[in-house]
Point group: D2
Chain length 388, copies 4
């Protein structure tokens, strides 16, 4: 639980401590009368990136934290939980407190997904290819529904969130966005479709790639998605269930933005903008076609081949959009430490939408904006095509 497999990924133990640190720091320290910090050293060790709260422990060195051991981290979690329960019982209800606690819960949900992402990466580097989950997933379909093109009418769409329910600050301000008529795929791109790209020499054709992506492909000799392996028994894929034969009907995942974009170019299509994506989801919701999503509660721990009626907008995989992660017009980050949550990352990253099989159903919204750097592929990322 201490292993850190790369600077982007954190140890399990660190995730467990950091999420409780979040509650302790932003809630208990200032709001629970008489609360005493569990361990002063933790403030430095488990601060992720809040410079307002002092210099965080170096991200790439989280794997060095041999102490506290896991028992002490669990004790920390229990202590913080107890504090929160006491606070909830004793404190007068306040919308400010409620919103901070909701933030803390959503924050923990994000880290629960990251736990799986990071564990998968760590296990993938072990030559023994250990499985995270021994449970065999249900019998999978070997075919995916044929791809259909959904026509989305142009017009002004309401983008973003507002109101009482919880949403992250980067989802606002809610505003109107003019979207032109476009078409969008009825499901995610499959392994089989991506295999055709590979077999057509997709990784060798510079004209399909953005310049920075092509440089990366050349430098690292990328030839397939992150967890694919070409073996003497054909293509295999490392998954949370261990090494498995590649199911061509399954959505292709662990693509970088560059790979997603190159595939779309090869297919004669493009990625949707985040506004098109949200408009399409909004349109489908009105048609009642967003249901039966493959989210965390299903416990499949993997994306599934699309079945009849499944559009995969929610769940299965985070979908790369062509949009850069930028503030919505009028966005202002809070001036306190919580303001560092989202705003300062609005540069050099791309927006992903829709959640994955590892996202809880009460965490995701069609206005939800996830963001990663275009080279990153260790997340549960996928591709949906769009066209004019």
């Amino acid at each position: 639980m201490q292993l850190q497999s790369m600077p982007d990924a954190s140890p399990t133990k660190w995730h467990l401590a950091h999420t409780s640190w979040f509650f302790e720091t932003f809630v208990l320290n200032s709001r629970l009368p008489g609360y005493r910090t569990f361990d002063q050293h933790f403030h430095h060790l488990f601060n992720s990136y809040y410079n307002s709260l002092g210099t965080p422990f170096t991200r790439s060195q989280r794997g060095l934290i041999s102490r506290p051991d896991i028992d002490r981290v669990y004790a920390y979690r229990k202590s913080v939980d107890t504090g929160i329960e006491k606070l909830l019982k004793d404190s007068p209800c306040s919308s400010n407190l409620a919103s901070l606690i909701a933030l803390g819960l959503n924050h923990e949900q994000q880290h629960q997904e990251l736990l799986l992402t990071d564990i998968k990466h760590a296990l993938s580097l072990n030559p023994l290819a250990p499985a995270y989950s021994d449970g065999i997933p249900e019998e999978e379909s070997a075919t995916a529904e044929p791809l259909r093109w959904l026509e989305i009418p142009g017009g002004c769409y309401g983008i973003g969130s507002e109101g009482e329910d919880f949403f992250f600050d980067n989802e606002g301000p809610a505003h109107q966005q003019l979207v032109q008529e476009f078409s969008i795929a009825s499901r995610l791109v499959t392994n089989g479709e991506y295999l055709a790209f590979i077999e057509d020499g997709g990784y060798q054709q510079h004209r399909l790639w953005l310049s920075d992506g092509w440089a990366l492909v050349q430098q690292n000799q990328h030839r397939h998605p992150l967890y694919w392996r070409e073996t003497e028994n054909g293509w295999q894929q490392f998954s949370l269930h261990g090494l498995q034969p590649l199911n061509e009907a399954e959505p292709v995942h662990h693509l970088s933005f560059y790979e997603a974009d190159a595939f779309a170019t090869w297919a004669g299509k493009r990625l949707p903008t985040e506004f098109e994506w949200e408009a399409a989801a909004c349109h489908l919701r009105q048609l009642d076609q967003l249901a039966t999503a493959n989210l965390l509660e299903k416990r499949f721990l993997k994306p599934l081949p699309a079945r009849r009626g499944q559009t995969q907008f929610l769940g299965d995989l985070w979908e790369w959009t062509s949009s850069s992660y930028l503030p919505y017009h009028g966005f202002k980050a809070r001036e306190d430490a919580v303001g560092e949550y989202n705003g300062k990352f609005m540069c050099n990253q791309k927006v992903l939408r829709g959640g994955s099989f590892a996202t809880p159903s009460d965490h995701i919204r069609i206005s939800y904006r996830n963001f990663f750097y275009p080279h990153q592929a260790w997340q549960f990322t996928g591709v949906r095509l769009a066209g004019d």
Copy 2:
């Protein structure tokens, strides 16, 4: 003329050869009957980034090209010029040929500006601080016009170029963009204003910076713009006229996007989007307030303090916008080698607008989109603030 001071910058000799190579490759080789390539090796040496034409010589090694010597490069230029003149005299007029030659000329204009940018960088690294130009510029004003806030009405603005006149492919398709009412500064930010940011600890306050910018500032210990130097005689600035005392009235230049953005945050303002910038310029043009720009023909070789009536939208300095460099809706790069000119760079870069003191007046347009990575500061970049 052979010195390469960093991978981003090219030797003077290389610029001279590359711009002729462009004409030879895209015009003469295929269109001038009987034309024989000047030197087969040049095709590899002076190809910048056109993968369609074979593997270009490694960018970071252009400084290694000791041969051909400069006399041979001048002979190359003369030979290509002669070929073009012959082609223009002998060939039937065709819009396709005309547009390629216009592209070649605009391409050469871009490199003429880069020549100055790169020479400045090279000279700046020499402890002798040699001047590029001995000519002393005209007596400069020690004061800049007070900053005014121009109110730009909201509405649908026509963005981009179309029609007969030359424009780069990334300026199209022309389209309408909904812009909300905003205000924009009447001139560029000055050295004096930026100095106040420094003196207020701007480089030490993490909350002013985007996360990636803050990491860069910490890593490189940035404390001032690229060419500023703190000496025992106060602040000085390396310029094309050598090392000069800092004129506080002069527009601050050689900022990275991160510095521009942090300054704007510190000032309680923001950068304009590229659409706001173009809308404002369009608005001012209708009011006839874009005139008397400090462009290349003035030969000042530096930005000047704003005088009465000068808005500095064109000339003086390239202005960082908050917009990521992305394709306009419906943009498609050409499928041939020329298609590599702009499209493949539409990732990870920010848009700059307006041209600089080194841009020819027949080269710049209000729809012109320049683009650089957010960390780059060796270009003639500046800042204009916007507000809601």
Copy 3:
């Protein structure tokens, strides 16, 4: 037990598995009839650097080996031990087998010392400064014996080992070496003496340093030994007993060769050659003055201030010599995999002599040649001065 704190250091779990792998690979696989490899994957995972046996798992990634878990590693050790016991009981005695088993045991002793070295490094990086050993060492003297200069007569000395008893191949061939008369310090350099070097600006005076050492000091801003920390309570030192006030009487340790050499230059002395060191030890042994060494059995887990009659040639700390690690005249490495043990490292490293507080007493000899790169300081290294 899985943490790898830097590429030079290995996880505890890896050391435990690797030492059993050594017995399995070099003894059981070929010599125990019917022996079946415990786990085929281990051959790759726990091979340190024997290219003859296939590509070893990348050294810098040993921290990624989450599986096998520690229980399985202990099972592996038990299984190999059982196999060796069976082999010893069943097999006819052979000098070849005996020498391989002796090699395996000495190999494991080396890794036992490395276990402590590597754990110390890992713990040192934790801001909590955890102690490896809670046991408080005996009351330490706050003074060291005054340094005396032992005069060693010149002449031909027998260097190296030969004969029946175990020794590493790099200790042979035994040969005569002409050594000129010299003097050598009666004990190791102390913290107090090294502190005087620091306070005299030793880390700021280029003339004291070898060129490569000076470059390293400048680059890394070294200002004191690896585990020293300057606190508001004065100098402290991270040790296997946690963070402790600096005892000036204690031998200074965790110096790089560059630091050791610079100190000697500052002191107007020099480091001994490995031949001088061995000659001096040989001379002292004849005078019966090598006794009562601080080796592993004492369980101090730290070097101690020299007491009357202690010369510290054996135990306390490995002593840097000025000699490069080169083959003795006539040395030939074995042609099989075991030949990779020592010979291929005879370049770029310096010889250290004498063992440390973590070396078992039946492991060390005065002919014993340890070797590390001149920049390495995480070993239990110290300094003894010599003069002409």
Copy 4:
């Protein structure tokens, strides 16, 4: 003349200025009454590594020195020459002055050789493969003399230099060294012999290589000497005369120490120690067999196939020895700036002996100790084998 092709190599212009700087700094400034420094900036720019004289300009950035231009550097040289001439005419003769001037001359001879070494490297990186010298060397023999093994008797040999004639400080103190009987090759290893090593898979057999060398070969995918190129017309070699077909009779050159050592291991031999080399040369000199060396005055600018009676001990190529570059017993560097000339480099480097085709005949001696890092191959290095 300004191009710097890698950090180890310096621009021609820099060599020209630095060698005059040496005379100005160590002779004129302190000894010529009324001498005024030519240009104060030069002291920083053209100081190589004398920390006693202030911080030298960063070595890896010598290629950035666009100014002073070459005319000014020649003026500098002329001015310094004039100063030295004046000093020699006016000053009373002193052995101290004479020895400094001798040092300056020998220093300049070293840089004259480096000029060729560095120019060769710079030209080699140009795809045009330009020749340094258009003059075609004399018709070369296509065969080399058969290799003979010279038996050198064991015994005490006088090593190093002493007395009135100039020698570098690292050649002393002269002392006796006990050398055991050994054999040494009568000539250098040839291209043909090295080709057999390559064709036998020498670069793929880890057991032939020192560990650090093997790591380097793997990392850089080395498969042949630095300037060899495998073309469709067979092996070619870049030389000061441009790209030439490989002459198998010619001595193999531009090997790193690792390559030299691996070849020797493959051949079942070893490299000589520097003492063996000097003993052998001393022995041959007594037999009058060191004559007719291929040194700079011959102007071949390349090593030649050994002819009858040529042992190639002097000239042709610097010969790697197995000895680390360490001080002779009793060596002490001078305490002033001149003391930085040799002493501080006595770590991590290997000794080479004998001079090359680019060494002046009045510069080389059999006691001469050159030194480079084991990975460096851009010098005119070669191999001579030894055996027991």
